[in-house]
Symmetry: C2
Subunit: 263 residues, 2 copies
């Protein structure tokens, strides 16, 4: 439990890039109660997973919106942006990190590809209570409710803290407040992409492929993020980065690999 009476320092990042409408919407809302610093990729870096840049130098530039300083644009991934924000841009560790608002959902299997979630994961690794927020539509977005919700949830997290090494992955349905049925604490759903690679030929007659595909939902439990959204609830999933499948450990121990590989 953690109480903050002073004005909180809020770090905001995303994966849609610093010029995306979703980050602008949430920053305007968060400024109502906090000191906001924006450090985000200079351009869209969706589906980058938890990539970081080690073999190339990173550059950071000041970014202006409507002729006013808005934040720092990083030539790198969402995880790079959070690392460099905490290690060089900011003088002290922020009280909270908000990643988003992503234009498009980050649920079920897509969490592992998500740059939005990756920024919040990096924040958590660095010891900052972190929230990833996504608006679950690919149509023209209205971020107003999701931004307001992010503000309220951020205040709550600042007051209560988060479970150790855990971030919140929030998905908000693209509805007006009056049409949203409530909030659900969920688990990550199960889904699978039925990938298709569309083969085309370039002007030199060389083959290339575009990745397309459709999502197959493998678990229609109401407890999952996907189905909560479908049922018009805001979904909040606590996620962590211990990938160990503890249930599998005893099965693997029964293989007696020790013996099998004995010299």
């Amino acid at each position: 439990m953690k109480k903050t009476s002073r004005i909180p320092n809020i770090l905001v990042s995303n994966d849609d890039g610093i010029d995306a409408p979703g980050i602008y919407a949430v920053v305007n809302e968060l400024k109502k109660f906090g000191n906001v610093t924006v450090v985000a990729p200079d351009e869209q870096r969706s589906a980058v997973g938890h990539a970081i840049t080690m073999n190339y130098p990173l550059r950071v530039k000041k970014f202006y919106k409507n002729n006013k300083f808005f934040g720092y644009a990083v030539e790198g991934t969402p995880a790079d942006s959070v690392k460099i924000a905490v290690r060089t841009v900011l003088k002290e560790k922020p009280d909270i990190l908000i990643s988003g608002i992503n234009h498009g959902s980050n649920t079920a299997i897509n969490i592992i590809y998500s740059g939005t979630v990756s920024a919040a994961t990096e924040g958590t690794i660095l010891g900052i209570p972190s929230i990833a927020v996504s608006l679950t539509t690919y149509d023209k977005p209205d971020f107003s409710f999701a931004a307001m919700f992010s503000h309220k949830l951020a205040e709550m997290v600042l007051q209560k803290g988060l479970p150790k090494d855990t971030l919140l992955n929030v998905n908000v349905p693209p509805l007006k407040e009056k049409d949203i049925r409530g909030v659900r604490i969920t688990r990550q759903g199960k889904s699978r992409w039925d990938d298709t690679f569309e083969m085309r030929r370039d002007p030199n007659n060389k083959e290339y492929y575009w990745l397309t595909g459709k999502l197959e939902v493998l678990d229609i439990s109401e407890e999952t993020d996907l189905i909560s959204i479908f049922n018009k609830y805001v979904s909040i999933t606590p996620i962590h980065f211990d990938l160990t499948n503890y249930k599998a450990i005893s099965e693997l121990k029964s293989w007696k690999l020790e013996k099998y590989f004995k010299k």
Copy 2:
């Protein structure tokens, strides 16, 4: 339980790139018992996390080593390589996937940045028993024991199958077989990078940053991947991609967010 009497079809990928010595070593070993197809990134894609390419077209080229066809080089990430292998290069789903052998460890927090693990994760998502193998040294590597171990473990997995939605993350110490003390089934360790960004100036006097840093080990239990390696054991960690922190669900439910956000 699954028995394979015919010659198994083996898909091999990595993140060090198709021309790396680690993939060459494991392919030579796996060819002793299986039909091997190599589909791997055309160049090094380390620390790419679980990135996939959606906004650019992918190209696949045949790659020759010592004037002999070796495999397919993909202008993309490890996850891209596995997806395109299964969806377009191969006529049928392979019996097993081996990712590696990576030059450098993939333990503790580094698992979430790892392209080697990402290739095996993508294989698992696609329903293929998958193993990521890393040799835990940054010095000049000798892949011979790790390659032999991969061969034996692959045969075992083909015989026994793997727990559902679970891959094996294998780390092999850079030692001769006689100096390795055995095999341990482990959990993912805890560690944190103490990142530093080294600021430099380019010839135009503009700032840029290089990411460096040192790893802090936060858990020295013998049950972890990191400490098993340190103690000269091969480490095998079963990992999955359900990131839900189930223990945190009840705590978050006690926040009564439903009530807090009630209209």
